[in-house]
Amino acid sequence: MLKQFRSRPLDEAVEKIEHYIIKNKLSPHTRMPSERDMCDMWDINRTTLRSAIQRLTREGKVYSRRGSGTFVATEKLLCNLQDLKTISDAARRSNRKLSTKVLDTRIIECPKQISKKLCVPLGHKIFVLNRLRLLDNIPVCLETMYLNYERYPTLDKHDFSVESLYHVLGEEFGTKIQRGEQTLSVTYSTEEESAFLKVPIQTPVFFLRGISLDSDDVPFEYFKNISRSDQIRYASVLREHS
């Protein structure tokens, strides 16, 4: 027979705090009760409570300010990886203000690795778009997109800090995303990325890259995104294969 256990006090304390936040619908940056009050409320000792807060801090659910207590962390923006234009849709859905800064646009000679992804020959003209996405003025994501300039020769005439790239591709060129494939992994921010994202150098960040294909199954875009994991959470819906 399986033994029955009460959970470890630490786990129990972690769950109590998490549940307290959910049950009371505490919004980000709300101050949690004092350590003493939390200990009394749930009948746990100070050491256990502190370990629980440490754990939740590592998991990005709360943060502490020395001398002023523990606070509920910023709500991360939930981006569904199966959506097509994850971040702008996600921001709209959760009522947050997304702004975009174009860092750089340029036309390059297609290098080997892009040539493979976009199925165009070496030296073909490629339009590169570098953008910084900000959520309520906090920089959250650095996007680099590579598109076939010979197919889309007017891209450099647009202002992609206000226009949607996909909208332009659809309206002007009739390109619609049919499907795509992207890969998610962890990387560590470089000096330049850190400066744009306002995080310390070598911060672990999400690295998402992939291609989008049009209705003729031709890849039309290759992208690489670096995003802050304290601001963005990725999601997917899994379904049984029919």
């Binding site: 027979m1 399986l2 029955q4 256990f5 009460r6 959970s7 129990e12 769950e15 109590k16 549940h19 959910i22 049950k23 440490q54 590592r58 998991e59 990005g60 991360k76 939930l78 569904n80 990886l81 199966q82 959506d83 097509l84 860092l103 340029r106 290098p111 080997k112 690795q113 493979k116 570098n130 650095l142 680099t144 619609k176 049919q178 499907r179 494939e181 992207q182 890969t183 998610l184 992994s185 962890v186 990387t187 560590y188 470089t190 000096e191 330049e192 990325e193 672990p204 960040v205 999400f206 690295f207 690489k224 670096i226 959470r233 990725y234 999601a235 997917s236 819906v237 899994l238 379904r239």
Partner: protein
């Protein structure tokens, strides 16, 4: 940025050069790449710069330094498909890795308020709590915590969860999981978990949290999976007509 502009810092450019050579197959898995000195000579750059570029790729799990031998291409990342409902060993088998799990904890506990809320049951009801370490080719790859209400599968008490994946077990008992919501975060591990996963303390790993539902939309399973980012890439396919406004767990 991950671009390849000539204006980018040299170590970044070199990092991309090496990454591309690995991707294109010029540098092959488990074979050494040119030494730091050779790379420095080839590109006319400082050895320290070469080391910086290589360090970054070692951290990402693409390269491995073996003292006195050289720098090896790993490229042994296991691709896991974020959309397929498959247990750990099933996914691994498909990728030709020898996979097995070690059960660290298997017990019954009270749901408590948090999980009572998630499962829609009373805090007094019991849950199975299973903690396992998943290995691929003898290296720990992920730590898994699974919670299942006792009443969903009382037989679980007698089932050896080191032999069967949860999905196999569900299949045997005709529990049909029709969908699962999964989220991905980057989190830091505490000393104990880091040790179990064989990584340094305070390393960042990917945390997958999933909530699985049956055909009646009841929550069957809640799971947390801490996965080493240097061993796995996660692939997601998307389609023009899929799951747009499904929303996700609250």
């Amino acid at each position: 940025m991950k671009g390849v502009s000539y204006k980018a810092p040299i170590y970044l450019q070199l990092r991309e050069v090496i990454r591309n050579k690995i991707e294109s197959g010029e540098y092959k898995p488990s074979i050494t790449i040119p030494s730091e000195k050779e790379l420095a000579d080839t590109y006319g750059i400082n050895r320290l710069t070469v080391r910086n570029a290589i360090d970054a790729l070692v951290k990402e799990g693409l390269l491995k330094r073996v003292h006195g031998k050289g720098i090896y291409v790993m490229n042994n990342k296991v691709n896991r498909d974020l959309e397929t409902l498959a247990g750990f060993s099933q996914t691994m088998h498909e990728k030709n890795k020898r996979a097995y799990v070690k059960v660290r904890v298997k017990l019954l506990r009270l749901a408590g308020e948090k999980y009572g809320y998630i499962f829609g049951i009373s805090p007094e009801e019991k849950l199975f709590c299973i903690k396992r370490t998943c290995f691929a080719d003898d290296e720990p790859v992920s730590l898994e915590e699974v919670l299942i209400p006792f009443k969903v599968l009382p037989e679980l008490e007698k089932i050896d969860v080191s032999v069967f994946s949860m999905y196999e077990i569900y299949k045997f008992y005709n529990i049909e999981i029709t969908k699962a919501y999964q989220t991905v975060d980057l989190v830091r591990l505490d000393a104990k978990e880091a040790k179990l996963l064989g990584v340094e303390r305070d390393s960042s790993v990917m945390l997958f949290e999933s909530i699985s539902y049956n055909q009646d939309n009841e929550v069957i399973e809640y799971s947390k999976n801490y996965t080493r980012g240097d061993h796995c890439d996660f692939i997601v396919h998307y389609h023009g007509d899929t799951v747009r406004d499904e929303g996700a767990p609250g």
